[in-house]
Amino acid sequence: MNKFLLLTRILLKNGESALSLGYKKKSRVPAVLLPFLLLLAMLPFSFMIGYLVMNLYDSLLPVHQEGTILALGFVAISMMIFLFGIFYVINTFYFANDIETLLPMPLTSAQIMGAKFTTVVLYEYLVEAIIFMPLVIAYGIKSGSGILFYLYSILIFLAIPILPLILASIIVMVIMRFTNLAKNKDRMRVIGGMIAVVLAVGGNFLFQYYSRRSMSAEQLQELFLQKNSLIHLVSSLFPTSRFPAEALVHSTNLQGLANLAIFMGISLITLIIFLFLAEAIYLKGVIGISETHAKRKAYSQEELASLTKESSPLTALLLKELRFLFRTPAYFMNCILSNLLLPVVMVIAFILNSGELSKLPDLLLRFLEGNTGFVQSIVFLFSVFLGSANNIAATAISREGKNFYVNKYLPVPYLTHIWAKLLSGVIISLIPIILVIAALIVLIHPSVLFIFLSSMTAVLGILFASLVGVLIDLKYPKLDWANEQRAVKSNINGLLSLLLNSLIAGLTVFMMFRLDVPAWTGYIVLLGLTLAYNLILIWILAAKGEKWFGQIEA
């Protein structure tokens, strides 16, 4: 037990967890404070949730379904933790290359796993707090609950992430156990990560699809007659969520205590099962994780000739960036796969709902064509989000790490390096845009003009987001990381870029909304704005990029 605590502390200190956001020790902001700063930044979001809960409470109280709010909240939290969890678990369990340092030490795999699991749980508490606190506090105030309600809440808060995270861990461990059998480990790990994400997203959709189908109108009506009966229905999405909801709703009587006990019991039992399972399969999946596949085969003359083609320095640097992004499992998972996740989910949602959508097109199309300025500003917001959420541009310099110096002695202008990095971000961010536009073409047949304008706006949005990211990373690169996962996952520049980008794009949309001018005037204003944003940023990059790049000494 002592070793477990010791290891957990070391892992947290070493910054293997996402809690320390890539700050060096000498940083002005102590790393411990960062999570709280992050929470502070999310405060407006939390207030929004609190407000929503209070409103929902008022409208559900007359039909005696107010408890459903809790179930709904717990389901949402569990789902979110499960989805985020898949990424975190892969990152901390398999991509944080600390395992080869830990293996020679006298530790059991349950201890290693337990410590790693704890760091992930601690991080999830942070994410959970953003939703959980406003949910429970707003509900507590509205229902006038007593002290027991809040005591139960604390226990539930601590227990909620365990189950979805264990689910995510087990999926990941089983997949990694088998992908580790393959010779080319890098590639198989990437494929393993993809399978895990597809399973998680796909399973989620199937579940939703069936749970929606299985309920007839009469059954629904019947359900409404019983008090808080909807809890059962809602929590069918994540079955264990009904226990904490029931526990809080009935916090004053024995039924509540029983539900709490059941929930805590289930969490504890799964934790024990998980530790046994970890002992059995984790090490088999992680040993030799850093081995690389080697063919050891000489090239023929023809192969050599085709592999030694000449290209410009810009092309060569761009190719290098893309190869690193695709071949480094941590980069592939966090930058490329996560980049595709949102559009893929959107496209699947489109397709699953295509039945209902088929009635929409005319109406939707008329709206799209009639409000060009506003609609395009939404496209701008969406593409800015995609362009910054993948962190490619905002970690472009940081990803070089300790090898940044190599760029300094190559006889290529620093600006060429920067353009190559910018382009790699733009190109990869364009993939999801192309996917979504293709899906729109198939599903709602928009006009050629709409497609053309949207593509143009999207390119401008992505370029803008990537420029902001590259500039931030150029000015404050985080080159001091121990493993690749930290370069992209726990890099504050990614967060900064996302916040700054969302702020500017959000203000633009807000302005377009308030402007209320004819469609085309609005569009011209938007086009002017987005062009101006990009030109200003390109000008800054061209004027300062070379100097900033030269100042980086690592």
Binding site: D186, A298, Y299, T308, E310, P313, L319, G550, E553
Partner: protein, 241 residues
């Protein structure tokens, strides 16, 4: 030819890593750069290669000012850093071709050079694999090959022999000798005094950022006691500082 004139470099404005360093590395010689750990060897090499900017002083490579015309200066030399763990996710051949692109090596020449280098360093069979899968010595070799692929006139090597097996070490030393004899410059740092003793035409000994001695091996012997080993001279020089 490399020339450093009154070069200063401090970290955080206080600690002088290199102080008033003046050094001329002429053509046609193998020049060894010796000094204890933390003496300023790597800082000096990083300033010559443009990785660090000197606070004061000038550095010229083949007569080209490294501050005023950095790109032109960088094309004059090939640099082997002390850690070969770079570009690990690239395949050997991709790395060599990348370096050839960086230094504008024409297509006709690069294939031939890559082949002959691969043969000489016995690396033909691993070019299709990622550098990640290489041993330390193989990584060292691929980095050296990447430098030689653009056939630079000045070689700058930071601890190049660390981790090389005896045969590769012999090959590299042989190549360094050939390069110097063709009238070009080889500048390398090392901890291994035997290597310096056998290989170098001239050496400089640096400690705490200052050059303590610079001259040919023979002069050094005469300067100190004739039969004293380089090890003893080195220890004496760096101890009294």
């Amino acid at each position: 030819m490399i020339e450093l004139k009154s070069v200063y470099k401090s970290y955080n404005g206080t600690v002088n890593a290199v102080e008033d360093l003046t050094l001329t590395i002429p053509k046609g010689e193998i020049f060894g750069f010796l000094g204890p750990n933390g003496a300023g060897k790597t800082t000096t090499i990083k300033m010559i290669t443009g990785i660090l900017n000197p606070d004061r002083g000038t550095i010229t490579i083949n007569g080209i000012d490294a501050q005023k015309e950095p790109l032109k200066a960088k094309k004059q030399f090939g640099y082997v850093p002390d850690s070969p763990d770079i570009f690990l996710r690239l395949k050997g051949i991709e790395y060599l071709n990348f370096m050839a692109d960086m230094y504008d090596v024409p297509k006709e020449v690069r294939k031939e050079r890559i082949e002959s280098l691969a043969n000489r360093f016995e690396m033909s069979k691993v070019l299709s694999d990622q550098i990640q899968s290489y041993s330390h010595g193989m990584r060292q070799k691929i980095v050296i090959m990447g430098v030689l692929v653009h056939n630079p006139s000045v070689w700058i090597l930071d601890e190049p022999l660390t981790g090389l097996d005896p045969r590769s070490s012999f090959t590299l030393k042989e190549m360094m000798r050939e390069h110097a004899e063709s009238g070009k410059t080889v500048f390398f740092s090392t901890h291994v005094l035997e290597v310096a003793e056998k290989l170098c035409d001239r050496v400089a000994i640096i400690n705490r950022g200052k050059i303590l001695y610079c001259g040919s091996m023979r002069e050094m012997r005469q300067h100190f006691k004739e039969n004293e080993s380089l090890e003893k001279i080195f220890l004496e020089l760096t101890e009294n500082e």
